[in-house]
């Protein structure tokens, strides 16, 4: 395996939200483990997808990497530097290199700022002091995302969802970041608009050699857009694989069920569904052992007590399930894989 | 829609007008109102009188309070050795007679057969107990002690004779014995039930006994059947209702909820007079009002300026216009009821020209500004202060009227000399003797005298205290008032006239000069 320094490497990242209680309201009475030991890496120029259902911690992961949320534990190496250790102002400056696009194009733009100001703001923050330089860059990036000059002097409410998302992309792009975390960038958009935005993002990736972390709950979008995909469940990464590999043969039972639950794209194509029973448990009170075991259709005894870890089963394919690692340990691996 | 809204706006205006104007209009024209209000609203109140007062003392123990509000009611409950008639003449009270054994000893013959409301007898023991208590530890906690500090002790001669021993000569002691801290209290009752109980359940020898006391609401007095004055009191019951707001008090009177309203505002006089079943009664009081000068402040350190101000203000106009005539002009800081009042002195006449001249003579610059401080809750005086300011501006002085809360003003600002150049002071002189006023106002170092100082005045003040010869004192006061008139330590304005509004069913009611209601002779139709 070739040793290549990844653009981003996340090691054992944890984010717990405290639930306060006690007489003074100061005591931490329990924790919500929004993400609980997530590790993955992202290579320069690729698109890494994170997929999972609501509450699985995929958005939290994205925001913790950017340190919009302070990580409880773990390391985040960006270009070899652990950014989890940076102090606030160092981190602030580093955000020039890592940007984020948000899900809700209605909520992520300040309604009281003009589009021009919104796009320009990162430049002010990152101390581009020359006005004309800023103006030039704004026009440039606006052009790249397909906004006209006239549109720059309007307020966000005058735009449709797709256009707003373009504004959001322009804002993320203007500081020339190396990594963009796209947090459900198209899930609030209509299908026809969604494809416009996805195409735009792809264009930009090619033009600027961007690296994306693409967070989404929409399996088909992820499949379309990403190179490698990590599947999350209840704060944990349960499987990471290249997209074709994952979609053809998911290993983790959850990934399997998730893929089978996709509505068919044609009425005559009848699928054999794995309908999972029950709901996702609460992250404040996750089940013992493998967190997926209460819903798992392949649950074994040890799943109820022993928490599996994410381990590679082959090159570029890791899974966190006893089915595979148990086998490995008991030297029955080959059979299963 | 728009039409509707403009209609609504009009409706609102009408509503506001109705609320204010119409509620009053019915009574503005006298001809109409005398017809309308001809019927006396008091119908089924038997031999009972209800009086609306503005405040109550919170505490009935005579040694703990020194308030007119107390004496208004407590005069019916308690009696002193001496009594003062409605005309302010001294007359026997619980003592049948008295005489000076020497300058410092007074002997009292006590009335026999008098009983306290709880049945215990009134005798020499009770008198001794009363004064021991007043001058003892209990009394020293209260405001009355200092009024009687000239008394040394009371000696019992026999059951109905006592001797009052004085430490120093006290020319006004007899007057003081007529009320307040010196009213006689029941020894057994207090000893058994305690002081605290006595605060709320007073027992005396007066014509009425207090049967119910609801703090801040009402005080009920019932006839004392064993009262020593034959055939008195005539009423079975008197209720005092505490109604602080004057307009509400008047409303209660108009609706017949009360029979007598104490403290009618001048502005309400007209309404009362126009109401057929009501009667307005006015009575002169010992309380004098002045704007006193802080003579430590420039330019008031100059006598000429002080005199000029006295000339500049048209006191008669103020009395006539603002007080509707319910006030009397004064020449010194005392009313004509006060012993020591000098009838020969006439108030400074209104003479703006003279005033201007004096100002000029004193070298005061045009537009010099003076701070005048008045209590914020005295509506009448606000008007007066503004009139004064108007007059002073005529002679080139600028006036800033400042308000303060009354208590702060009296207890902090005036004593500390922080009450501006001029400040309002009203002074009753409860002993009806100029000594009380003059000593406290002009004697150096007194609480309420932040700055005034004059050797001659000091000398005369001491002299009048050293004699019990009232003729002698009168002479001293004559000299004193003349000096004070010239020194003009205050802008004397008027002495107050109290207004009482009385339902015509009330018979024989005579308003008191000094707030102490006498109700034993009163009856109702």
């Amino acid at each position: 395996m070739e040793i290549k320094e990844s653009l981003l490497r996340v090691e054992n990242l944890k984010k717990y939200f405290p639930v306060k209680g006690g007489i003074l309201g100061r005591k931490e009475i329990k924790q919500i483990k929004a993400i609980d030991g997530v590790s993955f890496d992202v290579q320069q120029g690729e698109t890494f997808g994170i997929v999972g259902e609501s509450g699985c911690g995929k958005s939290t992961t994205g925001r913790t990497i950017l340190r919009l949320l302070e990580p409880t534990e773990g390391k985040i190496f960006f270009q070899g530097k652990n950014i989890a250790e940076l102090n606030k102002s160092e981190m602030r400056k580093l955000r020039k290199d890592i940007q984020i696009i948000f899900q809700d194009p209605f909520a992520s733009l300040n309604p009281r700022m003009k589009v021009r100001e919104i796009i320009e703001e990162p430049l002010i923050n990152f101390e581009v002091t020359d006005r004309s330089e800023r103006e030039k860059r704004v026009l440039e990036v606006a052009d790249q995302v397909g906004l006209t000059k006239a549109q720059l002097s309007r307020f966000p409410h005058a735009f449709s969802g797709g256009q707003r998302q373009r504004i959001g992309i322009a804002r993320a792009l203007i500081s020339k970041p190396k990594l963009i975390i796209a947090d459900e960038p198209v899930s609030a958009l209509d299908v026809s608009i969604q494809s416009q935005v996805l195409n735009l993002m792809r264009d930009l990736q090619k033009e600027f050699g961007l690296t994306y972390i693409f967070i989404s709950h929409d399996l088909s979008v992820v499949k379309h857009f990403c190179d490698r995909i990590g599947v999350m469940y209840l704060g944990k990464m349960v499987e990471i694989a290249g997209k074709n590999r994952l979609y053809e043969k998911p290993l983790h039972p959850y990934a399997e069920a998730l893929l089978s639950a996709l509505p068919s794209s044609h009425p005559l194509q009848k699928k054999q569904r794995i309908i999972l029973s029950g709901d996702v448990p609460s992250p404040s009170n996750p089940p013992n052992g493998c967190t997926f075991h209460p819903r798992c259709f392949k649950c074994m005894d040890m799943c109820k007590t022993v928490n599996p870890t994410l381990q590679p089963v082959s090159d570029q394919h890791s899974v966190s399930c006893h089915l595979y690692h148990l086998g490995q340990e008991q030297s029955a691996a080959g059979e299963l894989i | 829609m728009r039409k509707k809204s403009s209609i609504l706006l009009t409706l609102m205006l009408v509503f506001a007008l109705v609320l204010t104007a119409c509620s009053s209009k019915t009574e503005t024209s006298p001809t109409e109102s005398s017809k309308k209000n001809a019927a006396n609203p008091v119908k089924d109140r038997k031999n009972e009188l209800v009086i609306g007062v503005s405040a109550e003392p919170q505490n009935w123990d005579p040694i703990d309070v020194f308030l007119l509000d107390w004496s208004t009611i407590a005069t019916s409950v308690f009696e002193g050795l001496v009594d003062r008639t409605l005309d302010l003449e001294l007359q026997p009270g619980l003592a049948k007679s008295w005489k000076y054994l020497d300058d410092k000893t007074l002997q009292f013959k006590l009335r026999e057969g008098v009983k306290f409301h709880d049945g215990e007898p009134f005798n020499a023991d009770a008198v001794k107990f009363t004064f021991d208590r007043l001058l003892g530890e209990e009394g020293q906690k209260g405001p009355q002690y200092s009024n009687y500090s000239s008394i040394d002790k009371v000696e019992i001669v026999d059951e109905y004779t006592v001797n009052l021993k004085l430490k120093v000569k006290d020319p006004v002691i007899l007057t003081k014995l007529a009320g307040y801290g010196a009213v006689i209290v029941p020894p057994k009752y207090i000893k058994e039930k305690g002081d605290e109980n006595f605060n709320n359940n007073p027992v005396g020898t007066g014509p009425f006994k207090m049967t119910s006391y609801k703090r801040d609401q009402e005080i009920v007095l019932e006839k004392n059947p064993d009262y020593w004055k034959e055939g008195l009191p005539k009423l079975d019951k008197v209720v005092f209702k505490v109604i602080p707001e004057a307009s509400t008090r008047l409303a209660e009177l108009q609706t017949g909820k009360i029979d007598i309203m104490k403290r009618v505002e001048v502005s309400q006089a007209k309404t009362v007079k126009e109401t057929a079943f009501l009667e307005l009664r006015d009575v002169g009081t010992p309380t004098a009002f002045a704007l006193r000068f802080d003579v430590a402040k420039k330019p008031l350190d100059n006598k000429l300026v002080r005199q000029a101000i006295n000339y500049a203000v048209d006191k008669d106009a103020i009395i006539k216009e603002i007080l509707s005539g319910y006030g009397k002009p004064i020449s010194t800081f005392q009313s004509d009821l006060s012993f020591g009042n000098n009838p020969d002195l006439k108030p400074y006449p209104y003479d703006p020209e003279k005033a201007k001249e004096l100002i000029k003579q004193a070298g005061v610059k045009e537009g010099t500004s003076l701070d005048v401080m008045i209590p914020g809750n005295d509506g009448n005086f606000k008007e007066i202060a503004q009139a004064v300011s108007f007059y002073l501006e005529e002679i080139g002085l600028k006036v800033n009227i400042k308000t303060a809360d009354g208590t702060t003003m009296n207890s902090d600002l005036i004593p500390q000399g922080k009450a501006g150049h001029m400040y309002r002071q009203g002074w009753g002189g409860w002993t009806l003797d100029f000594d009380n006023t003059a000593y406290l106002m002009y004697h150096e170092g007194e609480f309420w005298n932040p700055s005034f100082k004059d050797e001659k005045v000091e000398r005369l003040l001491t002299a009048q205290r050293n004699t019990v010869d009232q003729k002698e004192r009168e002479k001293i006061f004559k000299e004193l008032t003349e000096i004070l008139y010239d020194l003009a330590p205050e802008l004397n304005l008027y002495s107050a006239v109290d207004l009482y509004a009385v339902n015509k069913r009330v018979q024989n009611f005579q308003p008191p000069h000094e707030d102490r209601l006498r109700l034993e002779e009163v009856s109702v139709k």
Binding site: G21, G22, I23, L24 | M1, K4, S5, L8, M12, F15, L19, S23, P41, Q58, N59, D61, D64, F66, L67, Q140, K141, G142, P143, Q144, Y145, S146, N147, D195, E196, N199, N200, K214, R215, D216, Q217, E218, K241, V242, I243, P244, E245, S247, T248, R249, A251, E252, T255, K257, D405, G406, T407, T408, N410, S411, D412, P415, N436, Y439, L440, F447
Partner: protein, 311 residues
């Protein structure tokens, strides 16, 4: 839940403690009670010193505060300088009247504001809405002393329907309650209206309508029930401040309430009464807020511990 109550009670203690400090020292800034008490006589220096000692005012301030605090722990507010009686008795004496007035005021405002608020939300943008709002705003557009005096002139003096003052029976409560209630009703109506508008946009209102139940059932059972939370919060907060804040109404209608007691006491520099009264009020106020918070869980089952505290 119990933990929450304990936590809130702890906060209450903190607040009351802070208020005790505040009132203790600020009342001492207003002036000297001895000079007020003795002012009518001829106080000698000795008499003043004597009285000060008797009242315990000669001790250093922190000692005085400590004594005061010690009493406070056992609900002993000391004795009134003026009447000599225990302060707690004076307060309890007025508590009933104060409570009655506060309840009366709240009731009047509820009776006016809730129908107005609901109607103007339901009929938003119509004449009913406009009229309702203007009417309810009229209530807060008069100075309350003015309204009180006018009500007395109209209903007591001219129409002779109601008594103008005193504390004799329920009919005495009507005018003061209206005076107080009118002021509240404007704000309350506005609050009910906006809460209703917010709730009426919720999906569950559509659900309720889709069930085919009557409009009024939707409005009252579904919408108003959910708009109740902010309403109750507001009423709770107001109830607290009505207890001590109705001073003017108390004065006009000669209502023997705690507000007047405290004002008189301030005027007389009767420190113990002021201290006791203010602390009593603040305890009640914080307590009412606590009860309001706890009542949330009755109104809205989602709130079990009320983590966010009061609104």
């Amino acid at each position: 839940m119990i933990g929450y109550v304990i936590r809130r009670l702890f906060h209450t203690v903190l607040v009351v403690f802070a208020i005790s400090l505040l009132i203790f020292f600020s009342i001492r800034l207003t002036g000297d009670p001895v000079s007020v008490m003795l002012s009518a006589g001829e106080p000698s220096k000795e008499a003043i010193a004597q009285l000060k000692a008797n009242l315990g005012l000669d001790k250093p301030l922190y000692v005085q505060y400590f004594i005061f605090l010690k009493g406070l722990v056992m609900f002993d507010f000391g004795e009134s300088f003026r009447s000599g009686g225990p302060v707690i008795d004076l307060i309890m004496d007025k508590a009933g009247a104060t409570l009655a007035l506060a309840v009366g005021g709240i009731l009047v405002s509820i009776v006016i504001a809730i129908p107005v608020g609901i109607l103007s939300a339901v009929k938003r943008g119509t004449f009913v809405d406009f009229f309702g709002r203007v009417f309810s705003l009229m209530g807060i557009s008069f100075p309350n002393f003015w309204l009180g005096i006018m009500l007395i002139l109209i209903f007591a003096v001219n129409l002779k329907w109601l008594p103008s003052s005193g504390f004799d029976g329920p009919q005495n409560l009507i005018l003061p309650s209206i005076t107080l209630g009118m002021i509240l009703s404007g704000i309350l109506a506005r609050l009910v209206r906006s809460s209703m508008l917010e709730v009426m946009n919720q999906q569950y209102i559509s659900t309720a309508k889709s069930k085919g139940i009557s409009d009024w059932a939707v409005i009252i059972k579904h919408a108003f029930r959910n708009a109740l939370l902010p309403t109750v919060t507001f009423i709770g907060l107001q109830f607290g401040s009505l207890l001590g804040g109705a001073v003017i109404v108390e004065q006009i209608f000669s209502w023997p309430g705690i507000g007047r007691l405290i004002i008189d006491a301030i005027n007389q520099r009767d420190y113990p009464v002021v201290q006791g009264g203010v602390i009593f009020l603040s305890i009640i106020m914080v307590f009412v807020n606590l009860v309001v918070d706890l009542s949330y869980s009755l109104i809205d089952p989602r709130i079990k511990s009320g983590g966010s505290g009061h609104a």
